[in-house]
Structure formats: structure tokens, C-alpha cells
Symmetry: C2
């Protein structure tokens, strides 16, 4: 077998990119033994679910890595702290739970001044205040290079309130909150201005008028309000997930774990009008930004058809398709009425 | 103000090393608002404590960073996975709780093959099996450089079983499990052999006969057995902490949070005879290895004097001193009967 040079993986070994982020987690945690009857759900949903008597504890964790998840050139540390917190809160919202406690671990270069970490923590505190979450622990360390933020969150819910990814059935309606794709366009704007700045540091960034898209990227919010809205409407979704990796990827997660197929309708996907225009300026089909862009942190959920009347005028919720029998495949019907296979081209930390 | 060169922090800003690891955490989390009555204890002990009806949930997190906490040259990935898990389990043991669920987040260079992560996870699984802990979640990401492991653990205990750092009173006896300093000597051995190897790659490492010290460093165990032993002896410690940073640093934590002083007796500190000899070979006073070396993951706790008879023949537990009134200071009485101030020279991730 020919030797490869030192920067490559020898050919008998498997590169991480061969599995992708989700495949890797599945691979690493396959066949794990669970010892405790309290562990209701381990790996495989937005949060683990742990029995705690008359309620359950929800547990989720997210890792944010400089150069992979964020670019320090255009990410203010306060926003980064806020976003690190919110993406975890969103995972609890996706289980229909209430976020409660949080730990934050940070590794930074020792060249980082305390004042920079203060900014980061001010953002974390702002999110904790906004969403009423208690920062209860963490760890700090130096790193040789780059900033790493690991956040773990605890939430709670009554046992029968928890909504898993796996409960959808054929004919259930697929619903999504808010609008999609803006966070991705915000990213493209920031990347464009970074490139302009590198070419000519005297140029002023042109982000004016795009506050919405840039805000969605740098300072997203979690849809903790949806839990109350659904309770008020007397609707119990059959499955739910938050949109961190893009509508296509998340829909496929629901289908896979529920054992269903799906029909999404391109023209039903909610996209902000300005985002739509901006996408065209970037030569991107707007629905592709929604399907594959990610980081919108809206909630995607399915409901029984009988709940249609309850939800149709709820506002801020779009019905974008329905589940099907698995044999009918996972597809999107395009605006010109063609049926195409739904594929995930979401963010992947190992091919970036 | 003179400009500093780019590698330094401008003088108006504060380097992280000025605060140290514990000072930094205190600084970053000072004055945090806790919103939930369930949050019994936030930052400041081995784990956060959260009310869950008839029991409490314990929550702790640890971050391990390549080049700071471990050296890939002599740390097998399986051992690293095992140790990352055990150090978290130890935090739950230090609260007198039972470890239950765990999440593991890992950032690695995309040049890492899947097989290397498999090794790491095999170690994590071994520890989960050994200590009956459920791996219930995690996250993976690429990193630009180096391996980062963030582990978060949940444990449980009855509310009145939890032992905090803050409950010690003057005259309480200071006890420690097992023996101390061996993990540090193991580290010194590994560092010496690494230096020898760098000087001459044909030299064979000389670690034979020092399995105990090397094992304590690379594959430590958590004292989850002590909870049962104390229950059997009918002893409820007044305070407890695990020894990750060295006996001196941990004793000072107990004193600070309990508002006491202390007298440690150097000659009472339990040190393995071979470790003692090895320390002398390295020109290190053996007690210094115990006081400042760290990573032994033994438990340090205080008990009421009335429990002396119950514990004196328990085995594997040494009484090494007693708490005093805070005004009497925090001191160690040396083997030649001198009283010296106890100072923490434990591990500090920001000055390494």
C-alpha cells in the first residue's frame, strides 16, 4: 500500500467527512447501553429526556467552534454569547419544554483579555435574562488556537407534554413558525462585506437596510413562545424539531424518525420579501436558502389534520406540506409543479 | 500609551492569567440572577444542585483541551476518553451523589480519522460501563487545531444527602481517601520519557515498574465507592470536594467556602511508598507532589469529631488535620513541626 503524505489520512482509515455530522454521532453512539430506567430518551432527538417523578428533565448540548460555526471578523462577542445560549434554548423549545439551567464552558487563547470574555458573558447573561434561564456552572481553559464554546442546557416539561421527532404519521400537516432563509442571507451579506474589507480596508461595510437578515444571523431568537401558543390553541404536535441546519435536513429528520415520507410545497415556504429579493441578488433561489441555509431557529412540527381549523388563522405559522406513507418518498413539489426528491445539503462541520 | 506588539494584550486590558482559573469563573459569573426556585446551588461547588421533587439533580461539566490538559504524544485516546468521563463522575461523587447521565461534545481536526474517534469513544464507553452512566447526547465539530472534549454529567441524590463545600466547622476532622501525589509523578515520568524520546527516538521508554503512577495519571478512577462506605459507617461529612487540582488548593476551597481556617499535618498525608521514592528521584518533596500535583481524584472531606471512632479503622481513609477558626489561618504543620501557610500552587490552565 503506498504511503500517503503526513497531512492526509492513510487510505485504510476513514475520514470524518465520510460520515458527516449526524452519521458520525450515530456511529459513535451506536449500541450504547442505558443503565438507568430514568433515561427515557438518549441520543437522537433535540434533547435527552430523563424521568424525574412528576416531570421530565430535558438535556441538550451544543458546541460552537471559531472558524467553523462563527467568524470572529464579523461576530461581536456579545452577539456570540447570546447566540450560543439561544441555540441551546431552541433545543428545549423543540421538545416543547421550558428552559431552566445552563452551563457554559469556554476555551480561549490566553492572549484573550478578560474584557473580551466579559463581552461574551454579557451576551450570555442577556440571553439568560431574556429567556429566564439560570447560569449554574461551567469551566474555562486556555486553548492553543481559537475560541470554543460548549453550552449545556437543562429544561423541564410534564411527561406527556414532551414532543419527539418520531411521532409524525402519514397525512399529518407539516407546519413551520416564522420565516426561513434570512439567517443564511445575513451570513452571505457578512461574508461579502468581509471580502470587500479584505480587498480594501477603507471601504465601509454595506449592511444598512439589512438589519433583519444580519440580526437573524448574529442574534437569533428561540421560539419559546410557541409552547404557550400551542397550548392556547389546544394543539399537541405529533413531532417537532428546531431548524438549525435548514428546512430540508430537519424535515428529513422528522421523516426518518417517524418512518414517514413527505410532500413539501415550495410556494408555501415562508420567506421574508426582502430576503427573497436579496437571495435573487446573490443568484440564489430563495427556497434553497430556506431549505439548506439553516440557523433560523424556527420550529418545524407536524399536527393531525383534524387540528387544521385551530391553526389556520393562528398567525406566524405556515402549513407547508404533509407527511405521507414512507413508500411515497420524501419530496418537494416546486412552484412549477414538478416533484423533486428532498435532499439535505445543510451545514456540515466536517466538510466545511 | 505605547503600542504593544500584536502578540501581547494592550496594557489597559487584563490578561486572563491575572485572575487564574477560579478567579476567572468567579468574575464571569458574579452577581448572576437565578430565576428558578429549583436552582438550589449554582456556580461554586463541584456540581450545581437542582430541586426535582423528592430528590435533587446534580449537574457538572469539565472541559479537556489538548496541549493544556493532555498531551497526545503519550495519552492513548482510549485512556483519554476514559479519563474525560471519570473526572466528571468524580464531581458527582464529591457531592455524595450517584452519577446517572452524560453528554460528550468533541471538536477535532478533520484530519482525525473516524477510527481515532472510535478509540476515544471506546474509553468513554468503558467508563460508562464501569460506573453505570448513560451516554445520552453530545455534539461533534471540526476544529482548526487540537482536540477539545467537553463532558457534562447529571447525577442524583436525596436532598439531605448532598454534601457541599461550605458545611465544615472549626474542629471538624479533615479526611482524605486513598493516597495522593502519584498521578503527578506519573505525569513527570511521561514527560521525562517524552523528552528522552525527542532526544533519541530509538530509546525505549522506561516506564516499567511504575504502572501505578502512570495508571493514576492516564486512567484515574472516581471514588464512587465512598458514598456507600460513609452510609455504612453512618457518617455524614460536613463538607466534601474531589482532588483535581491538589490537596492544598482543595483544602483552601473548603476553608474559603466554609469560612474556616485549617491545620494540615504533613506527616499524615497518605503517599504511596514507591511514589515517595520516585519523588525524591525527581528532587521533589513528596508532600509537595500531594499538595500541588493534583489529578488524584480522591475525595477530601470533613467530619464531626464525634465520628472519629467510626472512621478511624475504616481503611483507605486518612485523617490529615482539622478545621480551625478562620482567625487561626490556613496552615500546614511540617514533619519537623514548623507551621507554614498553606498556599495553592495547583494547576492553572492560564499560566501553563
Amino acid at each position: 500500500m503506498p504511503e500517503t503524505h503526513s497531512n492526509d489520512i492513510p487510505s485504510r482509515l476513514t475520514p470524518l467527512s465520510a460520515l458527516g455530522e449526524f452519521g458520525l454521532i450515530d456511529h459513535l453512539t451506536a449500541g450504547i447501553t442505558l443503565y438507568h430506567k430514568e433515561t427515557i430518551k438518549g441520543v437522537g432527538d433535540d434533547a435527552a429526556v430523563i424521568d424525574a417523578g412528576d416531570k421530565v428533565i430535558l438535556l441538550s448540548t451544543d458546541l460552537l467552534v471559531e472558524g467553523v460555526h462563527f467568524d470572529m471578523v464579523y461576530t461581536p462577542l456579545k452577539h456570540l454569547g447570546y447566540k450560543s445560549t439561544v441555540v441551546n434554548i431552541s433545543d428545549i423549545a423543540a421538545m416543547n419544554g421550558i428552559p431552566k439551567q445552563l452551563t457554559v464552558s469556554v476555551a480561549v487563547s490566553s492572549k484573550f483579555p478578560v474584557e473580551a470574555l466579559d463581552e461574551l458573558y454579557e451576551g450570555i447573561r442577556m440571553a439568560c435574562d431574556r429567556y429566564k434561564v439560570d447560569l449554574v456552572g461551567g469551566d474555562t481553559s486556555s486553548s492553543n488556537k481559537g475560541l470554543f464554546i460548549s453550552v449545556t442546557i437543562l429544561g423541564e416539561a410534564k411527561k406527556d407534554e414532551v414532543i419527539y421527532r418520531s411521532g409524525a404519521r402519514p397525512n399529518d400537516l407539516i407546519c413551520v413558525t416564522g420565516d426561513l432563509g434570512s439567517a443564511y442571507l445575513g451570513l452571505l451579506l457578512l461574508e461579502r462585506e468581509k471580502a470587500v474589507f479584505h480587498a480594501n480596508p477603507d471601504m465601509q461595510p454595506e449592511l444598512d437596510g439589512f438589519d433583519y437578515q444580519v440580526g437573524r444571523q448574529l442574534k437569533p431568537e428561540a421560539r419559546t413562545d410557541i409552547r404557550d401558543m400551542l397550548a392556547r390553541l389546544d394543539i399537541r404536535p405529533t413531532s417537532m424539531i428546531d431548524i438549525s441546519d435548514g428546512l430540508a435536513s430537519e424535515t428529513l429528520h422528522l421523516c426518518k424518525q417517524s418512518g414517514t415520507g413527505c410532500r413539501l410545497f415550495e410556494e408555501k415556504i415562508p420567506i421574508n420579501p426582502q430576503t427573497r429579493e436579496l437571495a435573487m441578488d446573490f443568484k440564489i433561489i430563495p427556497s434553497v436558502a430556506a431549505l439548506s441555509g439553516g440557523e433560523d431557529y424556527e420550529l418545524l412540527f407536524t399536527i393531525d389534520q383534524k387540528d387544521y381549523d385551530k391553526i389556520k388563522d393562528a398567525g406566524d405559522i405556515s402549513i407547508i406540506g404533509h407527511m405521507t406513507d414512507a413508500r411515497e418518498g420524501r419530496a418537494m413539489v416546486t412552484s412549477d409543479n414538478k416533484q423533486i426528491e428532498l435532499t439535505a445539503q445543510g451545514w456540515d462541520g466536517f466538510t466545511a
